[in-house]
Symmetry: C2
Subunit: 214 residues, 2 copies
Amino acid sequence: MAVKSEHIPKATIARLATYIQVLSEFKREGTDVVSSERLAEACSVNSSQIRKDLAYFGEFGVRGVGYYVQELITSIKRSLGIDRAWNCALVGVGNLGRALLRHREFSRKGFIIRGAFDCDPYKIGEVVEGMEIVCSRQLPAKVKELGLEIGVITTPPERAQRAANYLIGAGIKGIINFAPARIAVPKHIHLEYVDFFHYFYAAAFHIRFDDTRD
Amino acid sequence: MAVKSEHIPKATIARLATYIQVLSEFKREGTDVVSSERLAEACSVNSSQIRKDLAYFGEFGVRGVGYYVQELITSIKRSLGIDRAWNCALVGVGNLGRALLRHREFSRKGFIIRGAFDCDPYKIGEVVEGMEIVCSRQLPAKVKELGLEIGVITTPPERAQRAANYLIGAGIKGIINFAPARIAVPKHIHLEYVDFFHYFYAAAFHIRFDDTRD
DNA sequence: AAGAATCTGTTCCAAATTTCACAAATTCCA
DNA sequence: TGGAATTTGTGAAATTTGGAACAGATTCTT
Ligand SMILES: NC(=O)c1ccc[n+]([C@@H]2O[C@H](COP(=O)([O-])OP(=O)(O)OC[C@H]3O[C@@H](n4cnc5c(N)ncnc54)[C@H](O)[C@@H]3O)[C@@H](O)[C@H]2O)c1
Ligand SMILES: NC(=O)c1ccc[n+]([C@@H]2O[C@H](COP(=O)([O-])OP(=O)(O)OC[C@H]3O[C@@H](n4cnc5c(N)ncnc54)[C@H](O)[C@@H]3O)[C@@H](O)[C@H]2O)c1
C-alpha cells in the first residue's frame, strides 16, 4: 500500500473509520457516486478535510464527478490495512468478553476472534458462540498455531498487565485494552486503550457546562 | 464550578479521564503526593501538558511540592462535573446492553443506569441485574419520573435513530451511541459516538504500516 | 464543439494545540 | 535565617491541524 506521507494524524485514522461507516450506508441506499461535500455533511466534518485525509493515501476521486462509493470504500480499507482478515485473541471471557464474542460484526469486518482465553477453571472448557475457552497458559502455543496478531484484553483492570505480558510473550503484534488500567508494553507493540468512561465523562461535562452557561 | 476559560479542547477532557484513572491507582498504592512529571510519565504525556490541562479549571498544585493525589482527583471530578450522580437510560438490552447493565463500575463512578428499555416483547418484563426491562414507549414517563439525563443507545444500528428520537422526545440531555450509525440530534443534545471498530482499525493500520516500513 | 458548471487535489493561511522555558512560590537543610 | 532544590503556573515559541481558495480535470448543455 502506498502511503504518500510519513506521518498520518491519529484524527485522520479516526475519521477514515467514520467515512467507511457512512459510505457503507450510502451503498446500502443505492448511492453510487458521492461528492466530498455530501459525504462531509453526513460525517459532520469539512469537505476539504475529507479530501485532505484521502490525499494522504492517494487520489481516489474524479474531478467534476466525485467519488465512486464502492471504489472509495475499497480504497480506504486498503489504506487502513483492513483489506484482509486479522486474527484476534480475546483474553478474559466475562460480561464484556462474551458480548464481543457474540458480536457477529467483528468477523464480518475482518476481525476474527480465533482464541478465547481465561484463567478461571470454571470457565475453561466452556463453549461460547462455538468457541471453546482455553487456559491463558496456552496463549504462546495458540498464537503461533492460529497466527493471532491482535490481543483483546477484557480482564479486570488489576489483571490487565498480566494478560498483556502473556500476549506479548506469545508474540502478539498489537493490543486493544478494554480494562481501565494503564499497561506497559515494548515500543514495537501497538497499544490502544478503550475507555468507556471517557465517553460518559465527556457527556457529563458537556451537559453540565455547555448549557448552564449563564 | 469555575471554568476559567471559554473553550476546553476535547483532547483535554480525554486526558483528564486518564489522569483520574492513574491517580486512582496511585491512591490505591498509598501515594499521597505526585509531581506533574511523575504523573506525566504514567500517562505517557508531557508534564506541561498536564499543568496546562489543569490550568483550564484552576490551580490545584503546590509549587515545590506537587499535587495531593486525593485532592487532585476531587478537583478533576468537580471540573468534569462528575462530583455527583448521573441517571442513565439504557435503550436496547442485547449482548452489549447486558454487559453494561452488569458492570458494577458504572454506578460506582456515578453513572447509574436507572431504566432499561427494549422493544422486543420477549424481553420486556425480564429482570437483568435487578432491573426490569420495560417498553421503549415508557421512556417519556420514566425520564421524567426518574430524572434520567443521559441516554445510552445499544440497539442495532438501523434502530439507533429511532431510539435517539424516543430519548430526545422524552427530554434526555445527552446521548452515548454504541451503535455504528450516525444519528441526527438537535444542537442542544450532546452526542458521543462509541465506535469499537475505530480501535481495531487503528490497531490494524499501525501494526501493518508502523513496522513494515522498509 | 465551445462554454458553463461541477468537483477534486493541493497550496497557502489561520487557528488550535503542544512544548519549551522560566519566574514565582514553597520546602528543606545547614 | 538564607540559600539551594523543587516544582508549579504561564507567556512565548514551535508544531500540528483545520479551513479557504483556486487551478486543473471532467462532464453537461446547447
Ligand atoms: N462489562 C462492561 O460493560 C464493561 C464496560 C467497560 C469496561 N469494562 C472493563 O472490561 C473488563 C472486563 O469487564 P467484565 O464486566 O467482563 O468483567 P468480568 O469480571 O465479568 O470478566 C473478567 C474475566 O476475566 C477473567 N480473567 C481474570 N484474570 C485473567 C487473566 N489473568 N487471564 C485471563 N482471564 C482472566 C475472569 O476469569 C473473568 O472471566 C474490566 O476491566 C472492566 O472494567 C467492562
Ligand atoms: N456486542 C458487542 O460486542 C458490540 C460491539 C460493538 C458495537 N456493538 C453495537 O451495539 C449495538 C448492540 O449490539 P448487541 O450485540 O447488543 O445487539 P443485540 O441484537 O444483542 O441487541 C440489540 C437489542 O436492541 C433491541 N432493540 C431493537 N430496536 C429497538 C428499539 N427501537 N428500542 C429499544 N430496543 C430496541 C433488541 O430487541 C435487542 O434486545 C449494535 O448496534 C452493535 O453494532 C456491539
